[in-house]
């Protein structure tokens, strides 16, 4: 196996790192205070090719693959984890359109999403829970040349800052009774609801989408009638989980940098605390988490790029990395001592960000359930 990144990947890492370090920090205080995504940066993100990283070039994107996307999100997350949180959900929308959409749908919706006219969303979770997709209660019924949608989606990243929503609802009964639709924000009956006030990943907007007799043109059915489950699960599995793994990976990058910075600058007993074995062990554990996280995330991306089934790899990466980010952030707070709970030190924000990343896009428990099924099937 070749673990070396290509020259292209290395240049991509460097250029996104440079962009992130210069453009995001001046906006982070406001993001943290208001809980709002910095829409003024949207054009810059589009110009860089970040919004359309996995969108083919003929639809205005960069046309890169899953590993490249992970590298991009990791570098953004190293500076501000809320940024890849918002963008990974946007990418889910572009992924769903490109994978399941018709040529007309791709031509209509992908270019504006790549060019920064707005963000996109895949809205699956409902108030009854996000883990059990089959229990979706929102409905759609065909009336003439339109579907009429009713229901409510919650915990939706980018809800209030997006205009293109991929929405799976029930158009029939059972597993084949679900269909997915491309809903524009301005369609009659489409509304945004409550905005969530989260403890972490605050710069990524989260809230509700509400459909009250929402009129969706028939041609906005995506993936065909009855294939909504495949659209939802396919997008979550191949794009959402690697995306969330990248958010966790970004957090781990930031955590180790903050931990090492503090441990090498803070002096106790006349020398930096990095000389103390207790601190060294913490740093080793955080470092190990980061290195293992990279292997898991990059492997999932590489498998997807090489058309190797990656359900297990992506699920493992999402679950393990987000939990690793949370436990490593906790250890970094221990290294900081009392400074770790002061708002002027970024480590407390990273802890909050990691806590939000763990259940986002599917709880750790659901991921473990999926993995246990795979393991039992494989080794029985």
């Amino acid at each position: 196996m070749d673990f070396k990144l290509t020259e292209r990947d290395e240049m991509l890492q460097k250029t996104i790192r440079e962009f992130a370090e210069k453009e995001i920090p001046p906006r982070m205080d406001t993001m943290e205070e208001t809980g709002e995504f910095p829409m003024d940066l949207l054009k810059g993100l589009a110009d860089m090719g970040i919004l359309g990283v996995i969108t083919p070039r003929e639809y205005g994107g960069a046309g890169l693959g899953h590993l490249a996307r992970i590298l991009v999100l990791e570098q953004l997350g190293r500076v501000c984890p809320a940024m890849p949180m918002a963008l990974q959900v946007h990418h889910m929308c572009t992924y769903a359109l490109n994978t399941f959409g018709s040529e007309e749908q791709k031509k209509k919706y992908l270019p504006p999403l790549a060019q920064g006219e707005a963000l996109g969303v895949v809205a699956v979770t409902e108030p009854s829970g996000g883990s059990d997709v089959a229990a979706t209660k929102s409905t759609g019924r065909l009336e003439g040349d339109k579907y009429i949608l009713n229901g409510r989606k919650c915990f939706i990243t980018n809800a209030h800052v997006s205009n293109t929503w991929i929405v799976p609802v029930m158009t029939g009964e059972g597993r084949k009774g679900m269909s997915a639709f491309i809903v524009e924000k301005d369609f009659p009956g489409a509304k945004t609801g409550h905005i969530e006030d989260k403890v972490g990943l605050r710069g990524a907007n989260t809230g509700e989408l509400v459909f009250q007799d929402c009129e969706v043109p028939k041609e906005n059915l995506i993936g065909g009638e009855g294939n909504g489950m495949a659209v939802a699960l396919g997008t979550i599995g191949s794009c959402g989980r690697p995306g969330m793994a990248s958010v966790g990976l970004g957090i781990l990058n930031a955590v180790i940098e903050e931990a090492v910075k503090f441990a090498t600058e803070r002096e106790l007993y006349g020398k930096p605390i990095s000389n103390l074995q207790a601190i060294q062990w913490y740093i080793t554990e955080i470092y190990s988490d980061l290195e293992i996280a990279r292997l898991l995330a990059y492997r999932a991306g590489w498998m997807l790029d090489n058309n190797i089934p990656a359900d297990a790899a992506a699920t493992l990466a999402k679950q393990w990395i987000c939990e690793a980010a949370a436990r490593s952030a906790r250890k970094a707070i221990e290294i900081h001592g009392s400074y770790g709970i002061l708002k002027e030190y970024p480590i407390q924000r990273l802890m909050r960000d990691a806590l939000v990343a763990v259940p986002a896009g599917g709880t750790a428990e659901i991921a473990k359930l999926v993995l246990s099924r795979i393991a039992i099937k494989q080794y029985q």
Binding site: R8, M11, L12, E18, D47, L64
Partner: protein, 266 residues
């Protein structure tokens, strides 16, 4: 319009202080610090890109660097340069500024006629600021340093603003010329993901000493009139002084000191 831009890989200034000096060769040991394109050279390339956007033409990047630097230098192609010439030969190692300028001038002659040659004013590693005037001299063309603005009324007349102490001067020049720029001239663009892919299709040609008509023996350590006798890391000294008197007296003393040191005006 043909614009040549000289660029150089240097240790990333972000890691300043981590470089280790080689006591024997009196050079920087660059292996432990990642390299980047010299920051001011990116301003030079940005200016070239802006001029090409207005007047069309070709941008050729020239760099004297080890072949291993090629992936790093490709960033210039991703930024928008049309092609790149990398001067790489063991015989070039240890070249001082004059030898470097001689090699670059030979490469420029091999490229053919040009209108403008742009450099960064100085590099962050050696910081001599000698190479651009030396290239100009060797090529027999005018040179301006500390350039903060380039205006072109038509393709024939360049109106160039150069920073001087307590002000600036404006000169009008006809091409060809060599200009070296300061960071105030522009803000270099980011390399986009699409540009990285486009850059991969562009030509990066490696030339050795055998490919150039060189003014021997001005190449390498032996052909360099400058021999470094010693190189050392300056010792950082800090001094603390406790001011005497009550708060008002201490403030007065501090203000007086700052005024005398030139920190306050008026």
């Amino acid at each position: 319009m043909r614009i040549i831009v000289c660029i150089k890989p240097v240790p990333d200034p972000k890691y300043a202080g981590r470089e280790v000096l080689d006591e024997t060769t009196k050079t920087l040991n660059r292996q432990d610090v990642p390299s980047v394109i010299n920051p001011l050279d990116k301003h030079a390339l940005e200016e070239a890109l802006r001029l090409r956007e207005r007047f069309g033409g070709e941008i050729v990047v020239v760099s004297m660097a080890p072949e291993a630097s090629l992936p790093l230098l490709r960033e210039a192609l991703a930024m928008g340069a049309d092609r790149m010439v990398v001067l790489s030969d063991r015989r070039f190692a240890g070249s001082d500024t004059l030898a470097t300028a001689s090699i670059i001038a030979a490469a420029v002659r091999s490229i053919g006629p040009f209108d403008l040659l742009l450099c960064g004013d100085e590099t962050t590693d050696s910081g001599t600021a000698q190479v651009s005037p030396q290239i100009a001299e060797l090529l027999g063309v005018p040179n301006l340093m500390h350039v903060s603005s380039v205006q072109v009324s038509d393709e024939k007349t360049f109106r160039v603003q150069s920073q001087i102490e307590d002000g600036y001067m404006i000169a009008e020049l006809d091409p060809p010329m060599v200009l070296s720029v300061v960071k105030e001239i522009n803000k270099p663009r980011y390399v986009t993901l699409m540009a990285i892919l486009d850059g991969e299709q562009k030509e990066a040609r490696v030339l050795t000493a055998d490919d150039l008509i060189l003014d021997e023996p001005w190449i390498g350590l032996e052909g360099s009139p400058t021999q470094i006798v010693d190189l050392m890391v300056p010792e950082k000294k800090t001094k603390a002084e406790m001011l005497q008197g009550d708060a008002r007296a201490q403030a007065q003393t501090l203000a007086d000191r700052l005024y005398r040191m030139g920190f306050c005006h008026g």
